[in-house]
Symmetry: C2
Subunit: 242 residues, 2 copies
């Protein structure tokens, strides 16, 4: 059996998803013997730059199309256009167009299911503190370079793209803020600390179980027989069909 | 750039290596943007059964041969032939022959580096307790089905195979027992709990850094440009060569 692939495509929130408690590691563990989880996270990337990777990350002629692709961008697109992260800013209209192009390309490359993940919430005081620590006190570090209200606009745009393209959307902006003290899930007001990683992992695994039940781990076969089923006397017989 | 692959081939100690703190997740994190870590762990398998997977897991005609393969078997081969795990037992002489065949096949399939990992230590009282909990009190559960002394013989055999084939060997049996209170690294006297997972991860990353310096994360290129190097005005130019 050729094991199916799950591809995690996104920015640093994806790139760092194999840290302790992370959703990448969590998916790999949940789908051991069932699916290969492929990490395609690109720290700092917005959707404009991500589009330039599409043909390489998802070649249309791929021999083994992905069974599931998670598309998790927006945290950098939502950087404000007149502050520290201006370089990364992409207007919300273009963000929507880019997300749509990404989903359409990934489907054209054979992906069976595409799952959109909205950007998570932003804790502004922690961003200010982080920027001040990184760059020193200055007028530019007195105001956050991302805000939670703007993150919400990008999350809403991702949801609209999902609806229009009939792709399921995990609304992480809302899901994380349902947790009391959600600010403590973020290490720098944007990235997940270990508790945040675990919260995202749980949200994603629950979402898959509910919205994509054919992809539940127990709905997917293991590759090769369980060691309990191997014929002790003639083990090769147990592998004839696998 | 086609990202190189690291393949983790082994038994349950490999299959479970994406649990919290695990070496699979740790390698994926350490090699983000640099290498794909592919999990090929088969719980309960000994080397006799693992050999039956070789042509499928490591096809000789593979388009993308592995850059690194870890081969981590022996925990099941070392089950005693006259106790509960008898089904999994493989004599140490055959274990050596099988390991040699695995390394030779993996190299023939194009792997650049093969790293052997010896079985880890066994904490016998915890095995007795585990077996009693799993199967109830009985004469067969009063004695451990694996012993630390026998695990050492398999670890020694793996080291000899590595020397003979000029393959580096991480001696986990010795490395873990160097830690005071090493018994507390195991959940059931055999598998790693979270502290054990972290200890194995550290041992493996240090071993790679020391013995395979060309595979150190900082010696391997990232795929695609850093977001800091993308030309804001003409982003496509930044991807022309990648």
């Amino acid at each position: 059996m050729l094991r199916p692939r799950f591809v995690l495509f996104g920015d640093s929130l994806t790139q760092r998803s194999f840290e302790d408690g992370g959703f990448g590691a969590g998916l790999t563990s949940a789908y051991q013997r069932k699916a290969d989880v492929v990490l395609r996270g690109y720290s700092g990337y917005n959707t404009r730059w991500a589009r330039l990777l599409l043909l390489k990350v998802f070649p249309v002629s791929s021999l083994v199309p992905a069974k599931l692709v998670t598309v998790f961008f927006g945290a950098n697109d939502a950087a404000l256009p007149d502050r520290l992260g201006a370089r990364q800013h992409v207007p919300v209209k273009e963000y929507s167009d880019n997300l749509r192009a990404i989903v359409e390309h990934v489907r054209r490359a054979g992906a069976e299911d595409v799952l959109l993940i909205t950007p998570g919430p932003v804790h502004e005081p922690a961003r200010v503190q982080h920027n001040r620590e990184e760059r020193g006190a200055a007028p530019s570090t007195e105001v956050p370079e991302r805000t939670n209200a703007v993150a919400e606009q990008y999350a809403a745009a991702a949801k609209r793209v999902g609806q229009a393209l009939d792709a399921p959307v995990l609304d992480l902006w809302t899901a994380l803020q349902r947790e009391p003290g959600w600010e403590a899930l973020l290490s720098d007001g944007l990235h997940f600390n270990e508790a945040g990683q675990r919260a995202v992992r749980e949200a994603l695994l629950s979402f898959i179980a509910e919205r994509l039940p054919h992809l539940r781990p127990d709905a997917m076969p293991d590759d090769f027989p369980s060691h309990r089923d191997i014929d002790e006397a003639c083990p090769a017989d147990s592998f004839a069909e696998s």
